[in-house]
Symmetry: C3
Subunit: 340 residues, 3 copies
């Protein structure tokens, strides 16, 4: 339970209404009750605002007049909402200390208030920073280091000699430092290329469930500061990702690709190996990137959906598209000749 | 070892042949031996039927005359085959009881005959229904509840406050309740939106290996009754999936999408965020759904495969397709003018 | 620390330069220092060769004259590089023995020098070959067998009755033997088809992080010798993969597909169910394979990327492509008629 005054302070806003009203949760405008706070992120939902029964609404000052209940005026209501979620976060807080069932290697250096949950396994020569919490059933390889205030959820795997910065969040099932997919063709099969590099993850990084980031072949795979990565993402060896880039679910980035800062990738994007993508490049969902991109902007590939009957007719035509262009050029020539 | 009579009873069929013949397994028509039962799912395989050496065949009565061996006549041979697989299921049966290496939190309520395998970790205030079995190395978060007769295979992760119904099957590596990918743009980076909702999974749900289902931002992510989900699937926060929908491998469903009942999604389908897909919508493999679909039917996107040389020629033409339409319109105009 | 003579012997090459020079690592031509060895894989990088400060370079004899430092002449410099990585591999070596926290079932047969790391769980009747090492927090199901010299990294899951050959590498989060996605439509929902087959993995196979391979419905899913599989791959039930085929990240192969030997699949490829793909077929990234392919060669689908504005214009036209072909045919007819 928080008062509106508490919340207003947290978001650095301006309150119109009852300072002492108590708020117990967050809800969308159209389903919020009098003990919920809600937010108006854009003009599109102003009708919901007019009819809301929320206890209060975070909004831009220009909408305050249309708000039938208390409101907190802020410059960026969506950002303010994000800050308010932290006030109502009810995820369990890790308890400092090492669970007796955890297995701790030799020469492990731990900071203050480290938490290691049940059945986790910490290798030799691992360094763990202050207040970092490792969930149940995690495995941290020899010689790796975790910074301060990291949160590893249950069942996270970190291989050996991986370096992870401060305030990094790793979700369950994610794997950091697995071998890159490196093989040389040899007579009668594939010769493994041992992966001698590692993974370096910056500060304030979040990595989603079941995402895997491979270690580098010779040099390190690098994830910049502030990078956010969703679930089921595949990041191959030697990839470098610039600061604050956001990568949605099911993306695959092939080996040695270099991605700039402040990029966004929609779900299911694929990036081919050895490409260079500059800063501020945005890729829509399921785009295949098969050449480098230096110019900031939004890029896409694929076709849009249609009913299967239409799609079949059009898709089969695609197989003759080059021929069609030639036919049209031929027609143009003929028509032009006759005009003469 | 079962007799044909036993099997006939289980599938509610009509037996032609030897009641006491013993059957020890299931095999395809063309490789079955005299102790195997097989099935004819459609007229396509009737040649295999005529030559089969199976001990017996599950089939529709219309094919009985062409069957050279014993047969069990049923309305739906494929469904009957499915029922027979249960009779021959040889997967290990979980033993009720808690393995001494499992770590059990405080205030855990367990029903009858619960099984918890080695090295699993159960959080505080967890509820586990009768006969539910939790495999090795699972981690269940604080305050979550599992219904009756659930089967969690090894290495399943369930976060805190997740609600799971009865007869739910969770395969290894799956993650239920990880944080949704919610961030607000802030000066100099991303502000995390704490995910205050949870995940609600209905009854008779099956979830595949390495699939992850994120918890909701404010409200809950919801998986309806009878939903079946394959491996490597990504279901983002706030997604709602209707009853009996089937989702094949590698599908990604972005945040707040609402999927109807009795839908099917082929492998690798991508659904963009905030879309609404109605009941009985079927999506073929690797379709990108970027707009809502209300009408039942089958939908597709993409192009069909060809040899790489042809593909390159056609794909480069796609980049000029709009221009081609304009050129054709121009030609049509010219040709029409001259016809006047 | 190795001498050039040591390295030369390992790659069966011919040394030009100082036998006793010591090498402590591997680096690219343009960043190598005098204690690194580097390699020239093709004429493309010959400029880097001329300016390199490496201690030595692996190269073809034809480039020896242009090398300013010591060199080892070999027939295949990339393969030689792969062999040298093994000499510098610094991944922790598993220590033979069973960690006291591991839980070992009944009737487990182990070869010599087996290593089982902390908090792993081995089921009943499991067979583990000589020198095989199982990482932390792994779970091996009842009745499975692992050959000799296998390496299971942390958090690997192997279900029951799975058969794995010699020298197989399984990366963290991978799941072998999960149930295939088999259901028969039934009144009011889906009837599970119990998966009675298993998975058979040959020798010298490598399987990446978070990859899942389902067990067969009746017969076994089969992975041939020398197959290499990257991260986040989904291999469904009854799939058969021929020897030495290489599968990149995020590939999905649907049920009962049969893939030949010596194939390569780029990242994100999707293969529909029940298809047959012959030997030596190569699929470029994100190709959807929806029909069988018997002829060796390279195949592709999809469209190439463009800026979003252009893409939108072209993609909307794709929806009318069949109509355009008809319009062009009509024009051709009209133009031809008038030419008469």
């Amino acid at each position: 339970m928080l008062t509106l005054a508490d919340i207003c302070r947290a978001v650095d806003g301006q309150l119109r209404g009852n300072n002492d009203a108590t708020i117990s949760g967050i809800a969308p405008l159209n389903s919020a009750s009098s003990t919920d706070i809600s937010f108006l992120s854009g003009a599109r939902y102003v009708e919901h605002l007019r009819n809301t029964r929320a206890g209060a609404v975070l909004l831009k000052s220009e909408f305050a007049e249309q708000c039938p209940v208390s409101c907190i005026q802020v410059a960026d209501p969506y950002l303010a909402y994000a800050k308010v979620t932290a006030l109502f976060n009810d995820a369990p807080t890790p308890v400092p200390g090492i669970h007796p069932s955890a297995v701790i290697g030799q020469n492990v250096r731990m900071g203050d208030k480290v938490s290691i949950a049940a059945n986790s396994v910490i290798g030799d020569n691992v360094t763990i920073g202050d207040r970092t919490a490792i969930g149940a059933c995690c495995a941290i390889g020899d010689g790796s280091s975790l910074g301060r205030d990291c949160r590893l959820k249950a069942q996270v795997t970190v291989y050996h000699k991986v370096h992870i910065g401060d305030r990094v969040e790793l979700h369950s099932g994610c794997v950091i430092g697995s071998d890159g997919f490196g093989y040389a063709p040899a007579s009668g099969g594939w010769q493994k290329i041992y992966q001698l590099g590692s993974v370096r993850i910056g500060n304030d990084v979040s990595i989603g469930a079941s995402t895997a980031i491979d270690r580098g072949a010779i040099t390190d795979t690098q994830i910049g500061d502030g990078v956010i990565i969703d679930n089921q993402v595949h990041i191959a060896h030697n990839v470098v990702i610039g600061n604050n880039t956001a990568i949605a679910g099911c993306v695959g980035i092939a080996g040695s690709a270099k991605i700039g800062a402040n990029c966004t990738m929609g779900g299911g994007v694929g990036v081919a190996g050895h490409l260079v993508i500059g800063d501020n490049v945005h890729l829509t969902g399921m785009t295949l990137v098969s050449k480098s991109v230096s110019k900031p902007g939004t890029y896409s590939s694929g076709t849009t959906m249609s009913d299967n009957t239409s799609w079949r007719k059009n898709a089969v035509r695609f197989l003759h598209l080059d021929r069609l262009f030639r036919r049209v050029a031929e027609l143009e020539k003929k028509v032009a000749e006759r005009a003469e």
